[in-house]
């Protein structure tokens, strides 16, 4: 029986056809106005889908020179945007993709990446904890190679708070923090930290009751909020004092600010922190598989790893012990600042203390469910 609320089938077909035609016209007009992907198949161009800054000459210049190629980056901000780009690009548009590990299974499900031969990559140079990173393997096959990682906890203004005060997420609810808690406007790391503060381990695998508990806890933070910030605004709000505490970010923000003289630091509270990792994969159907493999090999080589760790605008931890060794030999001061010294305390300590949980997509709810809660929180 026909649904009385819907138009007849013929109309619906007509509607879909019209819509698709309009869409095609729109896309046609749009693509005609965009630069042509003339060199997508150029063997001397490696097309790279990645977060901003990853094709900086400081990072890839040496590889380009050595192989006489050009790395052409298409930048995205956020895994969801990456997935949208992936789904809207014809095969052969990209050769290599940089993805956060939690999106790896979606790339695999979309049949966008191909299995890698573990023997091609110096995984034995990695810290043992990262040699078989669980989010990179499916059915015993490797699909991504970790190139860097970092921890997310609480970043804070060191003039306003002491390390002892921020040793627990409970500081976010303190009287002193009222109206001064900034939020990175991305539900995943922000809600992940609040989930940890509610005792959830792992923070993204929550049954209905725990998810309701997270919602309640998150909403109770509203009087403390100063605002919800983009990456650029996080830098300015920590610098100008709008935000004195921000959960869900880490040294990738505060290290550069601190080196510029801003009194900020990051701590992994006693309830734990979240680890993000970035990894490289070869895009299925690329005609430049060999070049793509060499690019990944370069990025996890000691030289490539030191470049990744010491990028001016975005310093990160690296998984390769060989990279650590070269960093300590060539840039000992940087190694100390980055907490990647081979003797004494270093960034692996938190991992060994089991304080770190992996950042993952929601396990029992949809992305939209979590995002809806985040939108509700913002609108309170």
């Amino acid at each position: 029986m026909t649904d009385p609320l819907l138009p007849p089938r013929k109309s619906r077909r007509h509607f879909l056809k019209t819509g698709a035609a309009l869409g095609a016209t729109g896309l046609g007009v749009g693509s005609a106005l965009l630069p042509r992907d003339a060199d997508a198949a150029d063997p001397k161009v490696l097309n790279y889908l990645a977060w901003p800054g990853n094709a900086d000459p400081y990072v890839v210049g040496e590889f380009e020179k050595e192989h006489g190629v050009k790395i052409r980056i298409k930048e995205y901000v956020g895994g969801d945007q990456m997935m949208a780009v992936v789904n809207q690009s014809p095969p052969g548009t990209y050769d290599v993709v940089l993805a956060d590990a939690e999106y790896m299974h979606l790339l695999k499900a979309a049949d966008f990446i191909e299995p890698l031969n573990p023997a091609d990559y110096a995984l034995k140079d990695f810290w043992p904890e990262f040699q078989k990173f669980p989010l990179h393997w499916f059915d015993g096959k490797l699909y991504g190679v970790m190139i860097d990682f970092g921890y997310l906890g609480i970043s804070y203004n060191t003039k306003a708070f002491t390390a002892k005060e921020v040793s627990s997420y409970s500081v976010l609810w303190s009287e002193k923090a009222k109206g001064k808690v900034g939020f990175f406007d991305w539900y995943l790391p922000s809600m992940g930290c609040i989930s940890l503060s509610n005792g959830n381990r792992p923070p993204y695998d929550l049954d209905k009751a725990k998810f309701e508990g997270l919602k309640k806890k998150l909403f109770s933070l509203k009087p403390q909020a100063s605002g919800f910030y983009t990456i650029a605004d996080i830098f300015s709000s920590m610098t100008n004092g709008r935000a004195l505490l921000i959960p869900g970010i880490g040294e990738w923000i505060t290290l550069g600010l601190r080196m510029s003289g801003v009194p900020v630091d990051t701590i992994i509270p006693e309830e734990g922190g979240i680890q993000y990792t970035e990894s490289l994969s070869i895009v299925k159907g690329t005609t430049k598989r060999d070049l793509a493999r060499k690019f990944i090999q370069y990025t996890i080589s000691p030289r490539g790893q030191v470049a990744m760790a010491t990028k001016v605008d975005n310093r990160k931890s690296i998984p390769s012990m060989a990279g650590w060794k070269l960093l300590n030999e060539t840039k000992p001061k940087e190694a100390e600042i980055l907490r990647m010294t081979l003797k004494g305390p270093n960034v692996m300590d938190e991992y060994k203390q089991k304080k770190i949980q992996l950042r993952q997509l929601p396990q029992k709810q949809s992305i939209e469910d979590w995002n809806d809660v985040w939108s509700q929180f913002k609108a309170l």
């Binding site: 609320l5 819907l6 619906r12 509607f15 879909l16 019209t18 819509g19 698709a20 309009l22 869409g23 016209t25 729109g26 007009v29 956020g78 969801d80 945007q81 997935m83 949208a84 992936v86 789904n87 809207q88 979606l106 499900a109 979309a110 109206g179 900034g182 406007d185 991305w186 539900y187 909020a225 100063s226 605002g227 919800f228 910030y229 983009t230 605004d233 300015s236 709000s237 100008n240 004092g241 709008r242 949809s366 992305i367 939209e368 979590w370 995002n371 809806d372 985040w374 939108s375 509700q376 913002k378 609108a379 309170l380």
Partner: protein, 300 residues
């Protein structure tokens, strides 16, 4: 018209060419208007229809797929976050419209009716320049001025006051929006007041009207369509703005524009974002219609 139409018949070798242009006076407006019409159809009407169409589509695994479902409309229009954002955006835009008119009218009155010609031209030029400068840069400048460690608070701390929470609330949001809307409102009202017949003002003054009564009973009725235009323009700009709510309040609370971005950001929900977009366009069409109705009442 007839004499023009008769010319080609008397012309010599150029007759065919002249007949095409001068022979059919209706052709000229069509020729001149066609590019605009094509532009509007391709870049406004077609995208608008497409925007409406995709509100019925679906997203599967981050991919937009043609369908005919009402789920997007039900989910968005039934969501508390949408209601709150709609109400907040309406309040913000209405407040900004009132503030812009209250601030713009005295300024426009002074510029149009009190300043000598040369200073008037200078004032108009100074109002035009910000319209063509980067709005984003102006907002960043306000952040520097209003932040807790910014210029105002630094000055206040020198006299033992503050720091005041100037950035991140309704005050800073209105400051940001006025940066966008106020110059335009002042310009519209200035041009309108400049066009008022001075004889009307003189007549009212000769009849013993005080200046406040001249403003209320002569000037405001005389420029009612311009006031309506300034009000609707201000409302439209403030209602759809994304920059000020984002950077002057930190999205706290979100406006509809921010809600659109949030909806796309997680899950690539273009259809639901389009529902919000279409709803915004409906509100703007309603406001525009009300404005025209209000202005036309005065005209009759």
């Amino acid at each position: 018209m007839d004499s023009t139409a008769a010319l080609p018949a008397k012309a010599g070798p150029h007759t065919p060419h002249r007949a095409r242009t001068a022979g059919n006076p209706a052709a000229l407006p069509v020729v001149l208007g066609l590019p605009v019409l094509v532009w509007q159809v391709v870049f406004f009407l077609a995208p608008l229809v497409f925007l409406i169409v995709i509100t019925f589509w679906q997203v599967r695994s981050f991919r937009l797929e043609p369908a005919f479902v009402l789920d997007n409309w039900e989910r968005v229009l039934g969501a508390g976050t949408f209601h709150m954002a709609l109400w907040h955006t309406l309040k913000v835009a209405a407040t900004n419209t009132v503030l812009a008119l209250l601030l713009a009218f005295p300024a426009a009155y002074t510029i149009a009716l009190r300043l000598p010609q040369r200073q008037r031209d200078l004032a108009v030029a100074m109002l035009v320049v910000p319209v063509f400068s980067s709005y984003m840069l102006r907002i960043y400048a306000w952040q520097v001025v209003l932040s807790p460690e910014g210029m105002v608070n630094t000055a206040l701390s020198a006299v033992g006051i503050g720091p005041l929470p100037l950035l991140g609330g309704a005050f800073s949001l209105q400051v940001g929006l006025l940066t966008l809307t106020l110059p335009i409102a002042v310009l519209i009202l200035t041009f309108a007041l400049s066009g008022v017949d001075p004889v009307l003002v003189e007549a009212a003054e000769n009849l013993g009207y005080r200046r406040s009564r001249v403003v209320l009973h002569v000037l405001i009725p005389a420029i009612k369509p311009a006031i309506t235009l300034a009000a609707t323009t201000t409302f439209l700009l403030a209602f759809g703005d994304y920059i000020s709510p984002l950077f002057m309040t930190g999205s706290k609370p979100p406006t509809l524009s921010i809600l659109i971005v949030d909806t796309v950001k997680s899950g690539s929900q273009w259809p639901r974002a389009s529902v919000i977009g279409v709803s915004m366009l409906a509100v703007l069409a309603l406001v525009f219609g009300l404005g025209r109705w209000f202005a036309s009442r005065g005209a009759k």
